[in-house]
């Protein structure tokens, strides 16, 4: 098989990779926002519980999680398809990192801004919504870009539980035509071509942020 043919076959798994990216990004977002804000606001034992929950997802390995959820949940009577399992395993893991980024961006906003908002008579929730979150989100933009790259890279793992993504396609042609050098360098190249533009945009955004 020619190199172009190999690349074409690998690209045929792109839709699955992008679908996993979409699902995972949604799950990660839904994990990171509430938990990051909760960790920021809570004190005492409630905070310990939230931090502990985040740390469990942050501290575990995505590969292990994927296999664990895929093989063990059915024993508890919960049948999820491979997309759901990947979205939960990767999404909770990346979301746990994202929640920490959100919390530290919120914490980095000067105290005086919150006090100013409160003394103007705004409710605490309005201060969060109108003053803190917009600034934190701006700081988060480069981080979100990096997390998207992380999700794309981690999405290669879904081939291990049978989703036909780009890595899975590469393994397929690996079995029919044994050309490891062309196939795996082609696969690396395709991932690089997807992630490099995102990385360049992220770097530019981060630089703009520093100049401002």
């Amino acid at each position: 098989m020619s190199f172009i043919g190999i690349i074409g076959w690998i690209i045929s798994g792109l839709n699955v990779t992008l679908l996993v990216l979409l699902y995972t990004a949604i799950v990660a977002f839904c994990f990171a926002f509430p938990l990051g804000i909760a960790e920021y606001f809570l004190r005492g034992w409630a905070r310990t519980i939230v931090s502990g929950f985040i740390d469990i997802w942050r501290g575990s390995s995505v590969v292990l999680l994927l296999f664990f959820l895929y093989y063990v949940l059915p024993a508890a009577g919960l049948y999820l398809n491979a997309y759901a399992v990947s979205a939960i395993a990767i999404g909770f893991n990346i979301g746990a990192y994202g929640s920490q980024a959100l919390r530290s961006s919120l914490e980095s906003i000067p105290r005086g801004q919150i006090e100013a908002g409160l003394s103007l008579g705004l409710h605490r929730s309005r201060v969060l919504l109108l003053i803190e979150l917009p600034q934190a989100c701006r700081k988060m933009i480069p981080i979100i870009g990096n997390e998207i790259i992380a999700i794309i890279k981690t999405s290669a793992n879904v081939s291990l539980i049978g989703l036909a993504d780009m890595t899975f396609r590469a393994k397929e042609i690996m079995q029919t035509t044994y050309q490891p050098a062309q196939i795996y360098s082609g696969l690396l190249l395709v991932y690089l071509m997807i992630c490099l533009p995102i990385a360049l945009v992220v770097r530019k955004l981060a630089r703009n942020e520093r100049v401002r």
Partner: protein, 216 residues
Amino acid sequence: MGFDVDFFLELLPKILAGSLMTVWAALLGSVGAVAFGLALAIGRRSGGVGRVGTICFSEAVRLSPFLVQLYFLYFVLPTWGIVISATAVGVLALSLHYGAFLGEVFDAGLSAVPHGQIEVGNALGMKRWQIMWLVMLPQTLRFVAAPSANHLIGLLKSTPYLATIGVHEMLGSAFDVASDTFRYVEPLTAAGLLFLVFSAIVGSLVRVVETRLRPF
């Protein structure tokens, strides 16, 4: 298909035996990653071809999946006539991947040491390697301790990938038990729990290192 506690306790020693391989691979991989990261950081500061080459290499490594890099080394090295064991391939992949990340960290750490220190070293007649070894690196250590530790935790968390190329570490031995007995729940639970314990231990070690080696 419920959860059989007796079976769980029976297989725990096997998974623990596999965890020795996890620790071994993580330790060797860490040493390799630190050495390789240091080489990349110093290469980047040498200027010219070394700079361009190391930047391209570390960007390429940082922007592609670890799983694919692992497959690449596992399948392509033999076609180049380099035949090494699966464990060695795994350790090599861990070293290269996390070395690229550590290279960035070390580079930033070396840049954080004031330039005057190099000039002082020159003025005292020290050789280049002496300046690097005796002046720069000891000060860099304080800056890089915390971020490097985070990457090394990442390295530990990547060791289960080695199971995909047939290394008998924790996840690998869990799958061995599973394919012997057709029971997946207990072995995977054991591997998952042990792994959480591991990363908790390493996490608290890292916290100690961070407080001891804080930048002034």
